[in-house]
């Protein structure tokens, strides 16, 4: 849980280098600033970008450091199933996990050094301790117009939890995605938002 007076809402975004975790966190961070909230965020750059595991922290209404303490996050937003497990330690006991069920196999798996766990087993494991919203966001993104808009589908999904208005978030989606992909991304956002509302 985000501590009183330090942060209003703590969000961890996990994923794989290249999935667009930074853009996802930028949309949320920028929207919060538009609504006059102070924001602190930390992101992964450099080595881990090259297909490695990446994690971003976003703290809304926070005046101190950008790093969310262990068991501090209100929501864990994972763009890839196995990465949800990798960063589970940041999620508070009553926190929620929103997870894309479409796996990305690391090179250690494709080359046969490791095996990738069964996705259903990952979800079942997450459900043992937390509320889980799992769906194939990559598929939804494809329906919206391009698989690359998966990160925006996930932003749409988490929008149901954020202390930021939907209008501001959509405004920031439009400002931050490439001009010619605005329609696809707005659709992706809406699809992600409604999948959680059920």
């Amino acid at each position: 849980m985000s501590a009183e007076g330090i942060s209003k809402f703590d969000l961890v975004i996990a994923g794989v280098g290249g999935q667009g975790t930074i853009l996802a966190s930028d949309i949320i961070g920028k929207a919060a600033v538009k609504e006059n909230m102070s924001v602190r965020a930390a992101e992964t750059h450099g080595m881990a970008q090259r297909g490695g595991s990446v994690v971003n922290h976003v703290r809304l209404g926070c005046e101190l450091g950008s790093m969310i303490p262990m068991k501090g996050a209100d929501v864990l937003l994972s763009l890839e199933p196995s990465e949800a497990l990798r960063y589970l330690e940041f999620l508070s006991d009553d926190g929620t996990i929103i997870v894309n069920t479409d796996p990305i196999l690391p090179v250690t798996v494709t080359s046969g050094q490791c095996s990738y766990p069964d996705v259903d087993a990952i979800i079942a494991k997450l459900e043992e301790t937390h509320e889980v919203k799992a769906f194939n966001a990559t598929e939804l993104a494809r329906e919206a117009g391009h698989p690359q808009s998966m990160n925006v589908v996930m932003v749409g999904a988490v929008s149901n939890y954020l202390p930021v208005s939907v209008e501001t978030l959509v405004e920031c989606v439009k400002e931050l995605v490439p001009q010619k992909t605005i329609d696809i991304n707005v659709k992706a956002f809406e699809m992600g938002r409604s999948v959680i509302q059920g």
Binding site: A3, S38, A41, A42, M47, G65, S115, I122
Partner: protein, 609 residues
């Protein structure tokens, strides 16, 4: 209109340089410092000069020269880069500057993307150059205009030391006004000051020592240090730089009744430390990496005869390695003050690891991109030189070739050719083939190659030339014909450069052409003396951005016999199904065609449309 913007710490620092009226900005890329120059160079309208230099020492000297003429200069680098620039640093302290100079050195506690985690504040102590240590991206931006002014006032360069979490943190940033005045450049000859022959250096050293007291007093009362004395608190917490936000959050979470001293400058604020010592019984000190503040506090306590209990790293519960965070600070407070950790049960905090999930997670290491030509270069190198050969390497994307078995050493920028030479000169009989990137070669590899050729080292030097400084985010270098700002310039020929140093064997190949590359490496291996093979192919990310489109490849499942030759290449686009024993190519394929050239069964072909 709102003057608050959401920005990356490095972008905020760049904004600080603009607000402070920076005029000459130079640097060499290095994570986490690179986006500062990237941001400035990308500005459409600018009234400052900005360059990527070939290495940190060069960049430092460019900025120093500018500051000698009276203008405001900045040099940027990462912590290990300061080792390269240490030579001018220590002497510039003696000469000082006439205008203003900020030496931005980004530290990387926890080695997120570095070969060590050295603490730049030690260089500040060592060189006697003052240092500013921001705790948030906002403070980082605000410190820059202050640093220009302070540097000019005391006529000394100032070290500015963000850490990864500042440089790559994001925050809402309150923008400030932009300084409009620009001092003009005018160098005034003052031999005693600018020419550090022994006679003059002997005069400057005592002057430098005397200036410490003045700088300490000036910084003591700057906004970057603050002391909050809490009524009735027996405990005092001192925290510096980014550790101060972690410590603050831990104090709030733990409900600790403590006085708090935040430190953001070196030399440290001595009077504030003395006041805190007089008002507490126990002091806990949080700082990342080296116990620099702690050493100062212990010295002041000893000088003042204070009996306050000082808890930190020497020895103590605060770790001297890796990053700090709120949890570590809360744990230390809990341990020292014998409190509970109400938010996290101790057993969870200590035991949490992936085992708790009881599902084995596959490792996801950073790898070379699908289609990266370095993979092909390494494949051929290994084939020609053999598994027993020694492959010294360097710092860049190609360091990820560690998984290809072709990276046996990585010491520092430019260290591959020299390490290879040293091994040969030591009498090593195994074949030695080292690798170095184009940007790294221009950085400090050139000197090593000259030395190897001159001293007759029988080694092969592979320059893996992907036409860009890729690892740090695609900065240009002298091999590209392009400046930091995108403007055209001369394009240095690696071939001519190596030949002019006296290399008897210099050949350039396209590493995607495996056959030709193998033939060239074979001849390089036979060559007596230093041979140079330049494997040249555009970085795949850069190629895609510049519109180069190649057709992806596909594996014919009927022809695939499951030999795994293509899989062993380690390309993320090639998958292997252990049930069907067939390889397949996924959507990440960029169409380099290297796997197709490898396949002995003609099972891999270009996708036809």
């Amino acid at each position: 209109m709102s003057t608050r913007e959401y920005m990356l710490g490095n972008v905020a620092i760049a904004r600080g340089i603009v607000e402070g009226g920076g005029q000459v900005i130079s640097g060499y890329p290095g994570t986490p410092s690179s986006e500062i120059i990237g941001t400035l160079a990308g500005m459409k309208e600018r009234d400052f000069y900005v360059e990527w230099s070939v290495n940190e020492k060069v960049a430092f000297e460019v900025a120093a020269g500018a500051a000698m003429t009276g203008v405001r200069s900045v040099v940027t680098m990462k912590h290990v880069g300061l080792n390269v620039a240490a030579d001018p640093l220590l002497t510039l302290a003696y000469t000082g500057v006439k205008g203003s100079m900020i030496i931005i050195v980004a530290d990387d506690p926890s080695c997120h993307s570095s070969q060590n985690e050295q603490d730049t504040r030690r260089y500040s102590q060592f060189s006697l150059i003052p240092c500013l240590d921001p705790s948030t991206p906002q403070e980082a931006k605000d410190m820059i205009p202050f640093a220009f002014e302070f540097s000019n006032k005391v006529q000394m360069p100032v070290i500015f030391r963000p850490t990864t979490r500042i440089s790559h943190g994001k925050s809402d940033i309150e923008l400030g006004p932009v300084e409009e005045t620009r001092p003009s450049a005018e160098f005034v000859k003052e031999l005693e000051r600018w020419v550090m022959v022994p006679k003059n250096a002997r005069i400057q050293h005592p002057r430098l020592l005397e200036s410490q007291k003045i700088m300490q007093e000036e910084l003591e009362n700057s906004p970057w240090n603050s002391l909050e004395l809490t009524d009735g608190a027996k405990v005092g917490v001192i925290a510096s730089g980014i550790a101060s936000v972690y410590a603050k959050e831990a104090i709030v979470k733990q409900g600790t009744n403590a006085s708090f001293l935040k430190i953001g400058t070196y030399p440290v604020p001595e009077s504030k430390i003395r006041t805190l010592l007089e008002n507490t019984e126990k002091i806990i000190i949080f700082e990342e990496m080296e116990p620099i503040v702690e050493e100062q506090v212990r010295i002041i306590a000893q000088q003042t005869g204070s009996t306050v209990d000082i808890v930190g790293k020497i020895p103590g519960p605060v770790p001297r390695i890796y990053e700090l965070n709120t949890d570590i600070c809360a744990d230390v407070l809990a341990e020292v003050l014998e409190l509970e950790r109400p938010d996290v049960p101790a057993e969870v905090a200590e035991d949490f690891d992936y085992d708790r999930c009881r599902i084995d997670l596959p490792m996801r290491p950073p790898v070379m991109c699908p289609g990266c030509s370095h993979r092909a270069s390494f494949h051929v190198m290994k084939k020609v030189y053999g598994k027993d050969a020694i492959f010294p390497s360097d710092i860049g994307c190609y360091t990820l070739g560690i998984q290809s078995g072709t990276v046996d050493t990585t010491l520092c920028m430019g260290g591959s050719i020299t390490v290879a030479s040293g091994m040969y000169q030591a009498g090593e009989k195994k074949p030695i083939c080292c690798s170095i990137g184009d940007s790294t070669f221009f950085h400090t590899g050139m000197n090593g190659l000259l030395n190897a050729i001159y001293n007759k080292a029988d080694i092969t030097v592979t320059i893996v030339d992907n036409r860009i400084t890729a690892m740090t985010g695609h900065q240009p270098n002298p091999g590209m014909g392009k400046l930091a700002t995108g403007e055209s310039t001369i394009e240095v020929s690696l071939e001519e450069l190596c030949k002019s140093m006296g290399a008897g064997f210099v050949e350039t190949v396209d590493p995607y052409d495996l056959e030709k590359t193998e033939e060239v490496f074979k001849r390089a291996k036979e060559h007596k003396g230093t041979s140079v093979v330049i494997t040249r192919q555009y970085c795949v990310i850069d190629a895609k951005r510049s519109g180069i489109r190649r057709k992806p490849f596909v594996i014919d499942a009927e022809k695939c016999v499951g030999c795994r030759l293509c899989v062993n290449l380690g390309c993320p686009a090639i998958e292997f199904n252990t049930t069907t024993k067939k390889a397949s190519i996924n959507a990440m394929c960029t169409g380099c065609g290297v796997c197709a050239a490898l396949c002995k069964f003609d099972a891999i072909t270009e996708v036809k449309k």
